[in-house]
């Protein structure tokens, strides 16, 4: 299951990444394997999405969210 497939209000735990370059940026921003993510909302036009991770909100595009594999 990819992060991009979650609906607003749903949550999950990060398992792994499918893109090395993107994973470095995501980890720097606090998205680490084992962290739990809550999808807070989707932008009015359907993309990007806003998630809560380690206590703060992050926005990322669906294409970027699709590189995060959830447990």
């Amino acid at each position: 299951m990819k992060l991009s497939q979650l609906e607003p209000g749903q949550s999950g735990i990060i398992k792994e990444f499918t893109d090395l370059e993107m994973s470095i940026k995501l980890m720097e921003m606090g998205c680490l394997p084992g962290e739990s993510i809550v999808v807070e909302r989707i932008a009015p036009l359907g993309d990007p999405i806003a998630i809560t991770v380690s206590g703060y909100q992050l926005s990322l595009r669906k294409r970027e969210a699709s590189t995060i594999i959830m447990q």
Binding site: E21, L26, M27, G30, R41, A43, Y56, L60
Partner: protein, 704 residues
């Protein structure tokens, strides 16, 4: 003059670094550029109790040492190179206490550079409200550095921080977080010995980023390149390993020091606000309502202070003509310098109001929601959601906005943003628009509250946005690129704006305008006065002779002769000749040679148009008649037809010309600096000028 202590503020974006910088330095700030690059360098100072001067450098916010943009590269350049002019004696690491884990990632990297460091643990109030308790002493003990809890917005802990800075150790005390050498033992040792580098982490960073660092020689770069291929160095894999290793170490530190007392609950205040402000319908309605309010306010609130400044200058001009002896000096002072000065000062109210709004939007966290909402549309036309900030900034001035495109990581997104930002109606166009609108659009209200002039102004602003979008879309199809764009952005919690900060932003923007743009405006005013007062001397003498002939002195009164002579002199001055030479080209747009002069001089900056008009018409006007520029322009008649020069068609054609044309030397210069090539500014200049010519032509021919 005591000794100097160089202090660098380092931290994540949104950690409150800039707030702290403003508190520590107040108005003792200097905004410049980092050497060699165009990243804004914020520097300030304050006096330490022992008479030393603390020189504070606010380094750009970054999430890690692996830079994704040019802003972030500065951090590495400043900290890794001991010969850099901003290499600090002490680092104050500003950490967001409510998000300590992520903040400590950068801290652990910075700490490994072995520069003395203390932590300013900011936003303690937020952390406490969020149910996070941090045992500060324990944290300090585990990291080996001083930790000062502060709350910059509430001005708490600032004195303690200042004390800690004064009495900071001059040798690094921080404990190592991870075994850096173990990441790439042979490579690090080889770089250390070959390049004579003391600290292993700097050696490793050189391997990662040597191509982007400014302080290495070509030989050193080659050497590192060879060492990298010798040990088959894989930068990304190693970054991932390092990042995970650091987080493991941080988790160990935080395990005993940070406790989550209670679950703050999902429906926080910020979330509730977001439910409305990023709502699929209300979100956009509110965004456009805010834009509407901003532009109505610029007009409504600035009216009174502007007319005050206007009247003051009319009074000073009148007094000047009374007191000063007639002659070249008085003319230069009054019609050259004073006219130019009033053209600068008159726009202070509008600029201050606009920057107040921009500063509030950024401070509250709303600006990043705008980015969040607009990303999808922006991407369709070849821009990123991040382009919205430079483009909204473009309403104030294209120059800082083009500089701010540096945090757009993607090259293509960035280039397109740079290319279209000057189309956005900047504040320098505002004087041109205000003047022309007030001449031809009636100051009437529709439905009792909507100002017609405000509507005309808003239409020009909407036009600027539409044209930027269309051009961006066209460029998306033309410019080719392989680079990928990130859009991973923090959404900070909503906060009340800091009114001090709003005032400081207003002050700084006005100061920049008056001293940077103002210099050009006054200089151009004086040059213009010279150009319009002098001409080829033979021609001038023959005009003077002509009006002394009896055929004139008998036919006209002395007043009329004076006016005719002045008018003919202006027509034959250098400025007149210049304007006339381009008249055939601009005639189809409805412009005469006087407007031609203004078009030429306002290449320096658009607002010069107004100063030029002021000078041209005050030179031409009757001595005793000291009405404002607007009235003088309205009275201007076409000498051939006797009809007013500034008709509705001409005024709108002019406004459209200024909407599109690249009438700004500073923008050309900054685009050259940012793109490091003359190709981009040349393309930009060519496409904008053609667009302006064609659009003005159509508008004039339709309205005339």
């Amino acid at each position: 003059m005591g000794q100097e202590l160089k202090v660098a503020l380092v931290g994540n974006p949104n950690s409150g670094k800039s707030t702290l910088f403003n508190i520590l330095t107040g108005l003792n700030q200097k905004i410049g550029n980092f050497p060699g690059v165009t990243v804004e360098k914020k520097e300030g100072f304050y006096k330490l109790p022992d008479n030393r001067i603390a020189r504070i450098i606010d380094l750009p916010g970054t999430y890690s040492f692996y830079p994704k943009s040019r802003d972030e590269r500065i951090v590495m350049d400043a900290l890794a190179d001991e010969n850099n002019s901003v290499h600090p004696d002490l680092i104050v690491f500003v950490a967001d206490a409510s998000n300590l884990k992520r903040n400590l990632l950068l801290f652990s990297q910075v700490a490994d550079l072995q520069i003395p460091i203390i932590i300013a643990l900011n936003m303690m109030d937020l952390a406490i409200n969020g149910g996070i308790s941090i045992s500060v002493d324990e944290l300090a003990l585990k990291l080996g550095v001083q930790v000062i809890p502060i709350s910059a917005r509430k001005l708490e802990g600032i004195e303690q921080l200042k004390l800690a800075i004064s009495y900071s150790s001059s040798i690094p005390l921080q404990l190592p977080s991870i075994d850096v050498v173990a990441l790439a033992p042979h490579l690090i040792k080889k770089i250390q010995s070959d390049l004579n580098i003391e600290h292993p982490y700097i050696a490793l960073q050189l391997a990662h980023q040597h191509e982007q660092l400014s302080f290495l020689s070509r030989e050193e770069n080659k050497l590192i390149e060879d060492i990298k291929s010798e040990f088959s160095f894989h930068s990304q894999k190693l970054q991932a390993v390092e990042t995970i290793g650091r987080y493991n170490a941080i988790n160990d530190v935080l395990f005993d020091t940070v406790k989550l007392n209670s679950d703050p609950g999902r429906e926080t205040m910020s979330n509730r606000i977001d439910n409305v402000l990023t709502h699929r319908i209300f979100g956009f309605v509110i965004f456009f309502a805010i834009l509407f309010i901003i532009f109505q306010s610029i007009f409504a609130w600035s009216e009174y202070p502007m007319s005050l400044i206007e009247r003051l200058f009319i009074w000073v001009t009148y007094q000047g003509h009374q007191i000063l002896p007639l002659g070249v000096f008085a003319d230069l002072l009054i019609d050259g310098v004073l006219a130019g000065l009033s053209g600068v000062l008159i726009f202070i109210p509008q600029i201050a109001i606009l920057f107040a709004f921009i500063s509030i939007l950024e401070d509250t966290g709303y600006m990043s929601r705008v980015t969040f909402m607009m990303d999808k549309i922006m991407r369709k036309v070849g821009l990123s959601g991040k382009s919205i900030v430079p483009m909204i900034g473009g309403f104030a001035c294209a120059v800082p906005s083009i500089m701010s495109t540096r945090n757009i990581e993607n090259w293509k997104d960035r280039m397109i943003t740079i290319m279209v930002t000057p189309l956005i109606a900047c504040s320098a166009r505002l004087p041109v628009y205000t003047l022309l609108i007030s001449m031809v659009v009636p100051d009437e209200k529709v439905w009792g509250f909507i100002n017609m002039q405000g509507i005309a102004l808003m239409a020009l602003y909407v036009l600027s946005i539409l044209s930027a979008i269309i051009v961006a879309w066209a460029m998306k199809l033309i410019i080719k690129s392989r680079e990928r764009g990130y859009f991973i952005m923090e959404l900070p919690v909503y906060r009340m704006p800091r009114w001090n900060n709003v005032l400081l932003t207003m002050y700084k923007s006005v100061k920049t305008f008056v001293f940077e743009a103002g210099k050009i405006i006054i200089a151009v005013s004086i040059i213009l006065w010279v150009l319009s007062s002098y001409g080829p001397s033979q021609k001038f003498e023959s005009i003077e002779e002509k009006y002394k002939l009896e055929s004139y002195t008998q036919k006209y009164s002395s007043n009329e002769i004076e006016r005719l002579e002045a008018s003919e002199k202006l027509e034959n001055s250098y400025a007149g000749l210049l304007g006339k030479s381009i008249e055939p080209v601009i005639k189809p747009l409805g412009f005469d040679w006087k407007i031609g002069i203004a078009l030429i001089t306002s290449f320096a900056a658009r607002e010069v148009f107004v100063g030029t008009m002021a000078t041209i018409y005050s030179v031409e006007a009757d001595e005793s008649n000291l009405a404002s520029v607007r009235d003088k322009m309205l009275m201007a008649k076409n000498p051939d037809t006797g009809m007013p020069v500034f008709t509705v068609a001409v005024a709108f054609s002019l406004m459209i010309f200024y909407a599109f044309a690249m009438q700004c030397i500073s923008t050309v210069a900054i685009v050259y600096r940012e793109t490091k090539s003359w190709v981009w500014p040349a393309i930009q200049f060519a496409y904008m000028t053609s667009l302006a010519y064609i659009a003005s032509f159509i508008v004039y021919q339709l309205l005339k």
